[in-house]
Symmetry: C2
Subunit: 470 residues, 2 copies
């Protein structure tokens, strides 16, 4: 069914239905996205105050056959938040719905509205003596509704899971404008189909999340952080196994760092202090967050000793102070910044079955070498099997020189990922960037089930048209 | 659309399509369920050897408009596995598909076919030096496909989650006979809608799970078990908070025991040894499973000392040997057996927001007292907010004397659960037993979304007709 644009007539209709302050001119920031690949169409922007208004907006859009783009913090990396073509959409930004509706420390639960900024939720949890574990680079501006809609990952997935794992229940407006009151604070509830996990990760194509019931965790009594140099990615996996044997869920982070990333830092961010004299080809940032009876430094020392004995590590540095911890994390966090300054030919957010990662890294190197004189920085959330696998021009050359190679490299990397039972989108989602890839790589039975569900819940096709399913 | 019975003509058609050994006479055990509430209709029984045969069976049933009841271990407690009325169904039992397809210790992943018995999977994981944490009373005969289809809970949910949380991916036959190859071993995969969690908990109404990729965990280095007497359910929650502060995820079990349950043991199972001289009204069985640096006995002693100081516990017993651990668990595990011997007027598998449990217990007592001279045994997975809330006749009387009260008690308890934002099915599912309750208590927007999804994926209505949605 063809959609109509969110034009002046539609705006006039909304102006009759809503208080004046709900509709706003579309400021440019709503039409941009972090990677600058797309520019959204303006259409109409609505800033509802509450869930009832969200529902009224969805019904009005349905009546007028106008597409809706739900808007969170605008930090998504796959273009789910901008509609660059076709009829202009109604943008519904949740930015006014930021309330924490309740915190239940005994239950380790927090109920918050979808427009709440992730960092604010972390702070609210901390104030109640609890941890809200979702943590990612954009947390200062990302909003929880968007985090849930994209099933965001980030730094703490290994221990606490991704956004889906941190959500107990949702309130949402479904495409027919009905409000689903599913804000359960229950840990166990087997009453019917799991709508929650269907809306989580649907990127706004099956409804608009308006509030969520979120899991909190105890704050670990003590944190310890180390960087350990490993001879290979396979050794890094052995180190992970040793660490798991030792502290089980106590591993809060296990991040692979590639020598290429450290060389990039030297090249473009020389002020970032590097912990080792040489540039180790592979190292791992490990964080332990332990309960009160255990000393994380001692546990990291013990791990290092055991790993050294087995030849699994070569060198290591255990942070002895909060400042040193911070410095080790800065190293890890500045790698994406260095990547951006170098400028990639193609970057990939992929996952691979964990035990296949060493093979993937080896085969990926061969595949990419066959395409040109590229540099590869493969790093990230090794404990989750999630690599940020980025391909760069050789030193001294510019990404612009290789612009035509971008689709070739991307295709070759994704083909290898697919062949090795991996995912072409580990944590960023599909959005518009990977909608074609989804068609290519997804299981056909899954795709047809997804289409059937989409048609059943959104027969008019108004919810985030062009995202995920094309 | 009306369904046809799985009659002799349909059996003859299947006999043409399948090798002789796939079709079997329907033995009585396939038509019974543990609580003896329903007797299933015979129809036709098929025992496929592989996923391809499951798909062929589903297509054949679709062509003939014959309903299908997927059959696992037959241990479900809500009648999802028996179709007592309407046209006789095709029973598809997965009992021949029991293979462990692979174990990946580095990944903490096991891939198994749906017919594998839960206890066998626990053993296979243990052999690989890992823990498969799903554990429940029926584990010796329940099959993993059924566990997933009902999103089974059990004893280890507090730490490791329910069946859904332990599943990374599925292979399933969808109602149109297509095979979905979703056996992902990935921890992170954001490529489209979450079909996995939609099929999990759908109780066979959206397809047949044929295999699953399951999460394993490290085996805790040491276990410690204690029973602590608490002055009230509220104190039990404080004890849980203290334990969490101390060992975080290290709490493997936190089970509330009610004095009524202990009196039942004295009454009908006097050989079960009880740890305290009197009969404490409330006590908690706590298990710590800790990593190598910590001694669970010491940690339990430390917890007990802290709790005693705050008046949160009154008495306690920490197991000093494997035999004592076993004895404490026997106590907990014999309570359901005692319940059965006493014979309940009405039993409920409910969950309540954890912090509301003390209030629920108090108000429940008032509500039930208003209905008759009943005894209440409220016990179970307190850490998950999941109570088994069972109502019994007074001592010396028989449940048969109160048969007419069963629906009244059930309705009153469920009304209170609903009023307090709880769930009328925490871990057993809906099946046929609670299909009417689902209509009464479920959110209307959720129910209509469920119906839309069911019609979209199973337009002929052949998958487990009469279960979940009526």
């Amino acid at each position: 069914m063809d959609l109509n644009p969110a034009d002046a007539r539609f705006a006039a209709r909304l102006a009759e239905l809503f208080p004046e302050d709900v509709l706003r001119p579309v400021a440019p920031r709503y039409l941009e996205e972090p990677r600058g690949r797309w520019h959204g169409q303006a259409g109409v922007l609505a800033l509802p105050h509450d869930t009832t208004q969200v529902a009224q907006l969805v019904r009005a859009a349905g009546d007028a056959r106008v597409g809706i783009v739900p808007y969170g913090g605008g930090t998504g990396l796959v273009g789910g938040q901008v509609k660059p073509d076709g009829p202009a959409p109604l943008l519904i930004s949740l930015e006014r719905m930021t309330r924490v509706r309740g915190i239940y420390p005994t239950e380790n639960v927090m109920v918050a509205e979808a427009g709440a900024i992730l960092a604010d939720l972390q702070a609210a949890a901390a104030e109640a003596g609890r941890l809200f574990p979702l943590s990612l680079a954009a947390e200062g501006s990302a909003r929880i509704g968007g985090n849930l809609s994209t099933n965001a990952g980030g730094l703490n997935v290994l221990r606490y899971g991704n956004a889906r794992d941190l959500c107990l229940g949702l309130e949402a407006v479904l495409p027919n404008g009905e409000i689903w009151n599913g804000l359960s604070r229950l840990r166990k509830d087997n009453t019917g189909y799991d709508l929650r996990d269907l809306l989580i990760g649907a990127e706004g194509t099956l409804g608009i999340i308006t509030a969520a019931s979120l899991k909190l965790a105890p704050i670990p009594a003590a944190l310890g952080t180390a960087i350990m140099v490993v001879p290979s990615p396979a050794a890094a996996l052995e180190l992970l196994s040793l660490a798991r044997e030792q502290v089980a869920e106590g591993i809060s982070a296990f991040e692979l760092i590639n020598g290429e990333g450290l060389r990039f830092l030297t090249e473009v961010l020389p002020d970032v202090r590097q912990p080792f004299d040489g540039t180790p080809e592979w190292s791992v940032l490990i964080e332990f967050g332990l309960s009160s009876g255990l000393n994380p430094q001692e546990q990291l020392e013990h791990l290092f000793a055991r790993a050294l004995e087995r030849g699994v590590v070569r060198d290591g540095l255990i942070a002895q102070s909060q400042a040193q911890r911070h410095e080790l994390w800065m190293l890890r966090e500045q790698i994406p910044a260095a990547n951006r300054l170098i400028g990639s030919v193609s970057s990939h957010d992929i996952s691979i079955p964990i035990s296949s990662i060493p093979e993937f890294i080896m085969r990926g190197r061969e595949v990419v070498a066959g395409l040109g004189p590229f540099r590869i920085n493969a790093f990230g959330h090794l404990g989750d099997g999630n690599l940020h696998y980025n391909v760069f021009p050789p030193k001294g050359r510019d990404r612009a020189d290789f612009a035509t190679m971008t689709p070739v490299v991307k295709r070759a990397v994704h083909d290898l990922v697919d062949e090795m039972d991996g995912s072409i989108s580990a944590e960023h989602g599909i959005g518009r960037l990977k909608a074609d890839d989804l068609q290519r790589y997804a299981d056909p039975a899954k795709l047809s089930a997804m289409r059937a569900i989409k048609s059943a819940l959104d027969p008019l096709g108004i919810m985030n048209p062009g995202a995920v399913l094309v």
